[in-house]
């Protein structure tokens, strides 16, 4: 059985009449994000080739793949931070960047200067800036939103601390609060749960799940296959091209993962529940563990 049969390709039916609205509730029908035949890269290096991807409104989608698979590139394309070399992208009914105020983008933790003199409150308030417009300073509504967002991620007690004084998990919580404070339709999160403790991971996924239930669309890259399998509704496997997209349960399949990770997938027999790991040290496996190699290579 070819699991790619489960892939939903509704890209062709993406609405052409979609338009970005200023209102908080999106009124256009159709998918939140649609990529059609998208190729992208930096300089002479191609990071993504011929990607077709559709993300329905209210999705909680994990983008999975090894380092250099183009996961961050995919998010940057959707955010309008880079342009594709070819192909079409529709985001919230318009070209990328046209609905920027309705998008919250979370950069990778490594992309942030943690010595920067900003407090938690200042960082989360940045989420309000795009809505405020040039030259206008945050008002009472903005302050309320900021505090509410910090409550949501459990960081309300840390408002006046410098971000650099926080732990890795707390920093991710604060950045997610910034995204929430922006009140977006679409969350684009680059490694939101990488390098955080288990408790933070669960809390952040609870928040994202609630946002998806409220009709927001969440696209997050992750290295954590267990988290993707257990907490995300959908998954897209990426390795320079799209290997598969569909329900997380179906797509996180041994064969497809092997194809994505070039054969380096370790399958652990767990009591009834199968666990799949992105295995960086597959030569050190304990006896009894099965190491999968893709014969087609």
């Amino acid at each position: 059985m070819n699991l790619r049969d489960f892939m939903v390709d509704r890209t062709a039916s993406a609405p052409a009449d979609g338009h970005a609205t200023e209102s908080l509730v999106r009124t256009t029908d159709g998918p939140s994000v649609a990529l059609h035949g998208v190729t992208a890269g930096y300089g002479r290096r191609t990071a993504l080739t011929d990607v077709d991807l559709t993300v329905e409104q209210g999705s909680l989608l994990a983008v999975i793949g090894p380092n250099g698979a183009g996961k961050s590139t995919l998010l940057k394309l959707i955010a309008g931070l880079i342009r594709p070399l070819s192909g079409q992208i529709t985001v919230l009914g318009g070209p990328p960047g046209s609905a920027a105020r309705s998008i919250a983008y979370l950069p990778q933790a490594e992309a942030v200067d943690w010595e920067f003199p900003v407090t938690v409150r200042e960082v989360v308030t940045m989420g309000r800036y795009a809505r405020l417009g040039f030259g206008r300073q945050p008002g009472p509504t903005d302050r309320e939103r900021v505090l509410a967002a910090l409550e949501t991620v459990g960081m309300a007690d840390a408002v006046d601390r410098q971000i650099g004084a926080l732990s890795g998990g707390q920093r991710r919580r604060v950045f997610l609060a910034r995204a929430i404070a922006a009140d977006p339709e679409l969350y684009l999160l680059d490694e939101p749960v990488t390098g955080v403790d288990a408790r933070t991971q669960e809390d952040l996924m609870d928040v994202l799940e609630a946002e998806a239930r409220a009709g927001k669309t969440v696209v997050a890259t992750t290295h954590d296959l267990i988290c993707a399998a257990q907490r995300f509704h959908q998954a897209a496997l990426l390795n320079g091209r799209l290997i598969a997209q569909g329900s997380a349960e179906l797509v996180l399949d041994e064969k497809l993962l092997s194809e994505t990770y070039g054969g380096h997938v370790l399958v652990l027999p767990g009591g009834g529940e199968r666990m799949v790991l992105d295995d960086a040290h597959h030569h050190d496996e304990a006896p009894g563990e099965r190491h999968y190699h893709d014969e087609s290579r």
Partner: protein
């Protein structure tokens, strides 16, 4: 000596009044811009742009145009060129800056060597002399300084977001690239305004030192800017009095006061102070 007379006497001289006002304006504008220079890591660009102003000054001198205009055109053009080269070329950023930096300054020196006779005006720009500033120049400094301050304060929250998290800011719809070019252009103007006070060679200290000292002391962006401004103002006043009483070069005196304050903050500062670190370590010591 009567302490009041000690403070008031120098101000009976017109050159000291003008010098103090100019030094305060330059110090404040540099500290505000310096906050971004320090946080964005633009110190080297600042140094390059100030050297690049030199050929502009020389050309303006040769063709008889106002020196400020010549310097400003060269400085802003270089600042924008650096921005463009950094964004577009595959060279490392410090490499492209180094090339432009030395090349433009050499061009200025070459032009300078073609001028016959001794040109005190132009040499003054290398080391600066805030006490030699005239009323006309002071008005120019005040107007340009006010323009830079007004623009930066009006869009400070956008500049903060774009500096702290360029990707997040761009994704939320802020024109990050344009903000960066604007910041570089303002940097060019700031540097030209400051050159008469402290000279081409030391402008970078005015930009970097107060803001760097402030970063050692506070954890908020707004306070870092405010503390930097306060430090720059104190340094301007102290430096000029030192210069007056000890007969020292004015620009160098201001920069040295700023440097001393930096060293003090480095040693006793609450955040990164060497003393407070030692104090934190002490209770853990076994003996």
């Amino acid at each position: 000596m009567d302490p009041i007379a000690f403070l008031v006497d120098p101000m009976s001289y017109g050159f000291m009044q003008r010098g103090l006002i100019a030094a305060l304006i330059v110090g404040v504008v540099c500290a505000v811009m310096g906050t971004f220079v320090v946080l964005k890591g633009l110190a080297f660009i600042g140094d390059a742009v100030s050297h690049a102003a030199f050929p502009g000054l020389v050309i303006a001198y040769i063709i008889g145009a106002p020196l400020y205009i010549g310097g400003a055109v060269a400085a802003v053009a270089t600042a924008l060129a650096i921005g463009l080269v950094t964004r577009r070329s595959r060279l490392r950023f410090d490499t492209s800056v180094g090339v432009l930096f030395a090349g433009t300054f050499a061009f200025g020196v070459m032009l300078f060597s073609t001028i016959e006779g001794y040109v005190a005006d132009l040499l003054g720009y290398l080391l600066g002399n805030v006490l030699g500033i005239g009323v006309g120049d002071l008005i120019q400094v005040a107007i340009l300084g006010a323009v830079v301050l007004a623009i930066v304060l009006a869009i400070r929250k956008e500049l903060l977001f774009a500096t702290f998290d360029p990707l997040g800011a761009a994704a939320s719809g802020l024109p990050v690239a344009r903000l960066e070019y604007l910041l570089l252009a303002l940097l060019g103007v700031t540097i030209v305004v400051s050159i008469q006070a402290v000279g081409i060679i030391m402008v970078v200290a005015m930009l970097v030192t107060p803001a760097a000292t402030a970063q050692l002391l506070v954890i908020r962006f707004g306070r870092m800017m405010a503390v930097g401004v306060a430090l720059a103002a104190v340094s301007a006043v102290l430096g000029l009095y030192l210069s007056f009483y000890l007969n020292l070069a004015s620009g160098a005196s201001i920069v040295l006061v700023e440097t001393v304050l930096f060293v003090i903050a480095l040693v006793v500062g609450p955040k990164t102070g060497l003393l407070s670190r030692a104090a934190r370590r002490a209770p853990l010591a076994p003996s």
